[in-house]
Subunit: 218 residues, 2 copies
Amino acid sequence: MTIHTSMEFRSATLLGTGAGTGFEALLPASPLQPATLYSSGSEIYAQGEKAGDLYQVEFGAVRVYRLLADGRRQISAFHLSGEVFGFEADKTHHFFAEAIGATGIRVMRPHAGIDFSRELLPLALQSLVRAQEHLLVLGRQNAAERVAAFLLDMAARQGDLEEIDLPMSRSDIGDYLGLTIETVSRVFSRLKEKGIVRLPGLRKVKIVRMHTLRDMSE
Amino acid sequence: MTIHTSMEFRSATLLGTGAGTGFEALLPASPLQPATLYSSGSEIYAQGEKAGDLYQVEFGAVRVYRLLADGRRQISAFHLSGEVFGFEADKTHHFFAEAIGATGIRVMRPHAGIDFSRELLPLALQSLVRAQEHLLVLGRQNAAERVAAFLLDMAARQGDLEEIDLPMSRSDIGDYLGLTIETVSRVFSRLKEKGIVRLPGLRKVKIVRMHTLRDMSE
DNA sequence: CGCCACGTTGAATCGGCTCAAAACCCGTGG
DNA sequence: CCACGGGTTTTGAGCCGATTCAACGTGGCG
C-alpha cells in the first residue's frame, strides 16, 4: 500500500519553486539537503503516525485527507509546488498525505529554536484561513459554485494564468469539494457548454471568462 | 447594527475559566486588565476591519462567520469560555465575530515579542485542526451525522458532562453544520424519539447514549 | 396576559447521488 | 502504424435526502 521510492537530489538543482518562501532557516544546516521522490499515489504520512516534521513540495502535488469508517474520504487540502504542509496540533498525524503523480518532497525537521514558531505561525495561519474559506464552500455553496471556487483557487495559486493544470483526478476534486465525480464532471461539461472554460486536456483547464466564474462563486 | 456596550471588570473576579490556558504571558502587564461586555448579537469585529488583536472569551460564547453576497451564512467556529480567537493570516479580518448572548471578552494585544509566536502557534494549530475536522463533517456527513458530531464536540468542550448547554440558536447550529434550521430541528426530534438524547430545555441537551452518538458520527 | 421570536412539524419540490452504460484517453504490444 | 485493454471520464435515468414553503406550537419577557 505504501510503495514509496526514495531518491537523492542535489538541492541546488531542485530548489526552484521552493526558493523565496523565506523558510530556508528551517532547513537543516547542510546546503545540499536531499529531497525525496514519491511515486504517484504513495503515502507521505498516515493518520496515527508520529508527527513533527514538516514537508515542502518541490514539484508535483499532494493531497491531505481523512477517511470515515465506511471509506468516505474528505480531502482537506491540496498542496502545490513551494507549499509547506504537515502541521499538527499534537505529536500525531490526524490525516493522511499522499503524492498526486510523481512528487518531490523536502522534509524539514525544525529544531525547536527561537525562530521556529515565528517562521511557522504565518504558514499555519495561511492554512487556517484556507480551511475556513473551504468551510464556506462546503457548507453553503452548490455544485457549480464549488467548482467555480475551486478553479479560481487553483488559478490564483498558479499565478492567475488563464490555462491551469489540474494534477488531481475528478475523484480527488470530488472528495475535496464534497461532491461525486459524476457531479464534478457534469459541472465541467456545463461550464464548457457555456463557454466559460475550455478543456484542452483532461487535466488542463483554460479559463475563458474569469469574471463569470467569480460571479458564480460570489 | 453594532450596539455593543462596554463595561469594566476587575480581572481577578472574572478570570475563572480563562485561567490555566497558559496565555497569561500575552496579556498586557496590568494585573487588572479590563474586559468588555458584549450584549447578545453585538459585533466584536467585522470582515474588512483591521486585525491584530486577539480575543479571549471570559464567559458566554462567540460565533465567527462569513457571508455570501445573497446572505447565506457559514459559521466557521463557535468559541466558548476560555478559548482564544481572532487569528488572521494578514492584517485584515476575513470574518465577522459576534457575541451569542451576553458575553465577556478580554482583548489581548500581543506586542511582537519573542514569545509571541511560540505562545500563539499551538492555539493557531488547534484552530486549524478543528477547522479541518469540520471540513470532514461538512463535506462527507449527512444531517444526522453532522448533528451527532456537533453534540459530541460541544460535550467534549464542556468537560464531557452528560448535560450540555447550547448557547446558540437552531439557526446558528444550522449555519455551522451547513443545514437548515428545519433539518436541525428534525434531527433533534428524532434523536429524542430514539432515546439518544433528552431535551430538558430549548438550549439544553442531555446525552443519554453517548456511544450511540459516537457510532453515528463514525 | 399577550406578544413575538424561536422552534417544530408536515407536504411537496429539487439538487445531487446512485446505478448503469457509453466514450475517451493513453500506454502497450503486435 | 494501428488495434487492444484498462482505467478514467462523461452522460443518462431514476431515486432520495435535504430544502422550501407553509402552518402550527411554545416559551420567555414586557
